[in-house]
């Protein structure tokens, strides 16, 4: 009965060397104000830490934000870790950051539900998360 009334749980993760999190904190507050529960991992996390935390928190969405340009190897590692989980995770994977179009296509092909550029307005992120979660649930 309650599946649709429970707030969306979203984990926002920063992986790698990138030392800025003002942007992700703005996104966190916007999502909270839209009624979501947001868990922010803090800076400089490893893919291992992030996947472990996302499993423990049983989130609906895992948003991974990176600016460092190392997005392909990092996502490669994330896909490996997800594949190695004993059971398929429930979360929808979303990427944030700037990357060439062919990388974006490659990530989508491998299961990233959406890629958001750096300039995506926070309200658009809210919309987008709701949409991709609804799409994942419909599948």
């Amino acid at each position: 009965m309650t599946e649709n009334t429970a707030p969306l749980r979203v984990m926002l993760a920063k992986i790698g060397l990138d030392g800025h999190d003002r942007g992700v904190k703005v996104v966190a507050r916007t999502l909270r104000d839209a009624g979501m529960e947001v868990i922010y991992t803090g800076l400089h996390r490893t893919p291992e830490q992030v996947i472990e935390a996302a499993v423990q928190e049983d989130v609906d969405v895992l948003g991974v934000s990176l600016l460092s340009g190392a997005h392909m190897p990092i996502f490669g590692r994330i896909f490996e870790l997800i594949d190695a989980l004993p059971s398929a995770p429930r979360f929808t994977l979303v990427a944030g950051g700037v990357m060439p179009e062919e990388d974006e296509e490659e990530l989508r092909r491998r299961g990233v539900a959406a890629v958001m550029g750096q300039d995506t307005p926070p309200e658009a992120i809210v919309e987008m998360l709701r949409r991709v979660v609804a799409e994942t649930a419909a599948r």
Binding site: M1, T2, E3, T5, A6, P7, R9, A28, R29, L31, R32, D33, A34, G35, M36, E37, V38, I39, Y40, T41, G42, L43, R45, T46, E48, Q49, V50, I51, E52, A53, V55, Q56, E57, D58, L85, P86, S87, P89, R90
Partner: protein
């Protein structure tokens, strides 16, 4: 055949525990049966509550304690309750816990709960959540809530031992009394003892504890200095908590505690069992509503009939509490 969720929790499977806690938060269909099956596997964990004013270092302390418990070879689960926004119902959860050495540590299970995220009420989600971590075999469960607001302070009633965290600085201890935190403390911690003024806060607290004269044979509330960031005083704090648990055991307080929690749980379950079919759309219920609306009967008589209790208020012949199957 795939393992049931109950099996996965009992096997201490992280994803299984996580799923079960989500089901509890949402009060999904069938979650009560799963909790019923877990019940016989509970009763081992030491539940330690950590509360105190915002920013006093609770999350940092919880992380430091978790690492120390791990060092001693004990398994740890953490439930961190953070306030939901009064406006949107959304929340930013567990930020500082996730930001330190524990993040993503597979040996320590950490779960964040929003005060208003739980659809059956926060205290029920916490009580049920503690059972899950207990059944999963955690030796210690650390429960963090911010010590403002009655709901958050009341939650500490589910812990065996409650740590109240203060920080050095004039008037903080006074604030703790105002918030009703002094009475719930089994151990006082003065955190950020690396900052000046810690000793003064310790003696302030000791004075206050002396004033609130305790009866003979009562637990003697210790005041422990810690620096969560420097990992100082943490082993000593844990030693005090172990001592407190021992004292609870010796003085029958553990049993008392179990009885108190069980009272609440039986009442919750009874309400749920009784009310399951008592809602609009159920034929018997709708018929009773008609009767009362037309004054052919009164609300009390209708309710008694629906519950199968006779007009004198006696229970029905058959036991109203169905025996849980062990399957």
């Amino acid at each position: 055949m795939t393992a049931t969720l109950v099996d996965r929790v009992l096997a201490n499977d992280q994803a299984g525990i996580a799923r079960m806690l989500t089901r509890i938060e949402r009060r999904d269909e069938g979650v009560d049966k799963e909790l019923a099956q877990l019940h016989e596997h509970t009763g081992r964990a030491h539940v330690v509550g950590i509360t105190g004013p915002p920013g006093s270092g609770k999350s940092t302390l919880v992380s430091a304690m978790a690492l120390e418990y791990r060092r001693q070879g004990r398994t740890v689960g953490i439930l961190a309750v953070d306030p939901s926004s009064a406006y949107s119902g959304g929340a930013i959860l567990g930020d500082h816990i996730r930001m330190n050495a524990l993040a993503g540590n597979p040996d320590v299970y950490i779960r964040s709960l929003a005060t208003r995220g739980a659809l059956g009420g926060l205290s029920r989600a916490v009580v049920d959540g503690l059972s899950v971590l207990d059944a999963a075999g955690k030796d210690v469960i650390l429960l963090e809530t911010v010590g403002v607001g009655q709901v958050e302070v009341d939650i500490m009633g589910v812990a065996h031992s409650t740590v109240v965290v203060s920080i050095p600085g004039a008037g903080d201890a006074i604030q703790a009394i105002k918030a009703g935190l002094l009475e719930v403390a089994d151990v006082h911690v003065v955190n950020k003892a690396d900052a000046p003024g810690a000793d003064r806060t310790v003696s302030e607290l000791r004075d206050m504890l002396r004033l609130s004269r305790r009866k003979a044979f009562q637990w003697n509330v210790p005041v422990q200095k810690t620096s969560a960031t420097k990992h100082e005083g943490i082993a000593e704090l844990i030693a005090e908590l172990d001592k407190h648990l021992g004292w609870m055991h010796e003085h029958g307080e553990l049993e008392q505690h179990a009885r108190r929690i069980s009272t609440t749980r039986v009442r919750w379950a009874a309400e749920e069992v009784a009310l399951r079919d008592l809602r609009p759309g159920k034929p018997d219920f709708d018929a009773a509503v008609e009767q009362v609306a037309h004054r052919r009967t009164d609300p009390l008589t209708a309710a008694r009939q629906l519950l199968g209790v006779d007009t004198a208020g006696n229970p029905p012949q058959t036991s109203p509490i169905p025996k849980e199957g062990t399957s």
